[in-house]
């Protein structure tokens, strides 16, 4: 049952719908070539991040890998800012400078969006280190995929996290495939959660298609960490309905496997639970879905009509104090001086 500190279930169902509809629309816009680069969709995994945010405070730190659209939406980043980021617009959550894999939202405590597999796990250690250093009871949620658990940075970070007893929940979103390589073909363990045991971190397996199970497990863990900082590991078993990225037809798995998971859809499941308990009518559900669809359609319009940063702005985002040492195209200094009549070479880049 929902606890008082947990977020409203109907609201969370609406969030799952928003994520699903957003990703569907992103897929469509990607195919229409409105979105560049790589684009990794979260469809099928919605219960993982919604279950997690339902159990934590807004000021807890969240950091994730490149399949990050849902984490931003779950954190409260608007669909407008997310879609605009995919479109590379200045109104995007990273001003269009990060793209699909690099969503950031400082205000909502989303610390990226990181695209080198496993490289953000040490960052999570640092964020949690800072919380402990300052004596705060904040918890860091670090999401990563099953592909990350074989990276050196992951192992180094887990050892540091365990050694320094840092308040991190390591959340492995096990969708069974690292790109096209199944866990069986990549990992020497029978189950991923056993990685945690190697670092003396308590680990558990959670059904990632069940929103309530994810939320309640997170609530329990986070509550315990707030009292006494320590790490925890959960392997959340989930499934992505789409390929690894937009360019992947996912020919490495069977239709039957996909159908099996679709029948266990996390949105359908929460809807059924709520309907059965008399907390949601079909009309209300349709209303939520309609609203989600409208929101994402509006986000496309917003993104399309948003401006891009002017090209000269690239130099603003290299150093925070604006000290730029970039070799820029243009005339040689002597020529420039002759033109401008300036006496001495200045210290700025040539």
């Amino acid at each position: 049952m929902q606890r008082p500190e947990q977020r409203d279930e109907v609201e969370m169902l609406a969030l799952m719908l928003l994520i699903r509809r957003f990703e569907e629309r992103a897929s469509q816009q990607y195919q229409a070539q409105k979105i560049g680069g790589f684009c990794h969709l979260y469809i099928g995994q919605e219960a993982v991040v919604t279950g997690a945010v339902a159990a934590v405070r807004n000021d807890d730190y969240i950091i994730t890998a490149y399949r990050d659209h849902a984490h931003a939406l779950a954190r409260g980043t608007s669909a407008d800012a997310c879609m605009a980021e995919l479109f590379g617009r200045a109104t995007g959550c990273s001003l269009g400078l990060g793209g699909s894999m690099h969503f950031f939202d400082r205000k909502n405590h989303l610390y990226g969006g990181h695209a080198i597999v496993g490289a953000h796990v040490p960052l999570a250690a640092g964020m949690a280190f800072a919380s402990k250093y300052r004596g705060e009871d904040r918890v860091t949620l670090c999401f990563f995929g099953d592909g990350a658990i074989n990276q050196g940075s992951f192992h180094e970070a887990l050892n540091l996290i365990a050694l320094y007893k840092l308040p991190v929940v390591l959340i492995c979103e096990n969708n069974l495939f690292a790109m096209g390589t199944s866990v069986k073909r990549s990992t020497s363990l029978k189950q991923i959660v056993d990685r945690a045991e190697g670092y003396d971190i308590p680990g558990e397996i959670v059904d990632g298609m069940n929103f309530r199970e994810v939320r309640d497990k997170l609530s329990e863990i986070v509550g315990s960490i707030r009292k006494d900082p320590h790490p925890a590991f959960i392997e959340i078993r989930t499934y992505r309905y789409r390929g690894h990225s937009m360019s992947d037809p996912a020919s490495y798995r069977t239709k039957e496997e996909l159908e099996k998971y679709r029948l266990d859809d996390p949105i359908t499941r929460l809807r059924a639970q709520l309907t059965r308990e008399g907390k949601l009518t079909n009309e209300q559900f349709d209303q939520l879905d309609k609203k989600a669809k409208e929101t994402v359609i509006a986000s496309v319009k917003f993104a399309e009509s948003s401006p891009e940063l002017p090209v000269e702005d690239v130099y603003k985002y290299v150093y925070v104090d604006g000290a730029v040492e970039t070799e820029r195209p243009g005339p040689a200094r002597a020529e420039q001086q002759r033109r401008e009549g300036a006496p001495a070479p200045s210290k700025e880049g040539a």
């Binding site: 939202d105 490289a119 960052l123 640092g126 050892n159 540091l160 985002y317």
Partner: protein, 327 residues
């Protein structure tokens, strides 16, 4: 002014910055209980405690990343690499995470972190422990790189690095930790801005552009050249990035001849960038082609004689200066 070692100067810089700002902490291998592999952090654990002076396991990638994460949420980490040769294990963190975050996040997250430790070939450590990393890191937009050669510069640059809101690499000169020099008294704040070269010796016939371990080498060679009536001006870059172009140009405008003596390798080395900028901006001022003295383009060998041959040395520098002077 008083005379202290390069090592003491760095130690003072660390202590003063730790004292000044509670968000500053020092982390790395052997920095606490062992007092630093090169004793740079001597006494800091006793003074600031284990919360702020933190020993790590041998996990450069892990603790470099930890520092970056802590910097994202407001701390100001000083991460020590036992040598910058080992920073290559953390290359992904130093190159991909620290300097990219500000751009990738649309300016939301700057990374106020200092990476420091000895850099450059030392004495007979073999190829894996002899890397000069300045050209690698200076080529990455978003990083700043400084290379102090004297105790005063070491103290002033490190303190500035810790206060900088960007990722800064302080590449200490491994062979100079015990060298001595005059430094302001401890109660006098010493901050040296990044991107300001210093003329360590005035001269009129040729400019020797140098930094870090090549500065004492250049000074020795300049003294020898004086006996042969060649007056060399020594320009110590102090920072590789930002690069003080103006100081380089000013010196060459005066001498019309230049030799760059660098610790790194010739291919895509620091000197290559300087040559490009000089010819682009003050081509007409040159009376001779610029020469570079660097490592040979080979991994550093262990054998003492061979190592000496591979590294920039006085004979090579002397010959190069004479050549640009047509002497």
């Amino acid at each position: 002014m008083r005379e202290i070692t390069y090592r003491q100067a760095l130690n003072e810089a660390l202590a003063e910055e730790l004292e000044r700002d509670p968000n500053v902490f020092l982390m790395g291998e052997e920095v606490a209980e062992y007092h630093g592999a090169y004793k740079v952090s001597q006494g800091l654990l006793e003074r600031f405690g284990p919360t702020r002076i933190i020993d790590t396991p041998i996990s450069e990638n892990g603790f470099a990343g930890l520092g970056i994460g802590a910097a994202m949420v407001g701390l100001r980490p000083i991460i020590e690499f036992m040598t910058f040769s080992f920073s290559l294990v953390a290359f992904d963190q130093v190159v991909n995470n620290a300097p990219n975050m500000f751009m990738m996040s649309g300016g939301q997250f700057n990374i106020p972190i200092t990476f420091r430790g000895p850099n450059g070939p030392a004495h007979q450590l073999g190829a894996t422990h002899s890397h000069a990393t300045e050209n690698l890191y200076a080529s990455v937009p978003g990083l700043k790189v400084c290379t102090p050669a004297t105790p005063r510069d070491a103290k002033g640059l490190l303190k500035t690095a810790v206060r900088d809101d960007n990722p800064v690499l302080v590449l200490e000169a491994e062979l100079l930790y015990s060298s001595k020099g005059m430094v302001e008294p401890p109660d006098e704040e010493l901050l040296i801005p990044l991107g300001q070269a210093e003329v360590k010796r005035e001269g009129s016939d040729a400019s020797i552009i140098c930094y870090a371990q090549t500065v004492p080498l250049a000074l020795t060679v300049a003294a020898q050249l004086e006996e042969e009536d060649i007056s060399a001006e020594i320009v110590d870059l102090r920072s590789i990035k930002p690069l003080d172009e103006r100081a380089i140009f000013d010196s060459i405008v005066k001498t019309h001849r230049a030799v760059i003596v660098e610790q790194d390798r010739p291919f895509c080395g620091v000197g290559a960038e300087i040559c490009y900028r000089v010819q682009k901006n003050i081509f007409d001022e040159l009376d001779a082609p610029i020469l570079r003295v660097s490592q040979e383009d080979v991994p550093v060998p262990y054998n003492e004689k061979l190592e000496k041959f591979v590294l920039p040395n006085a004979d090579k520098l002397m010959a190069a200066v004479k050549k640009v002077c047509y002497a």
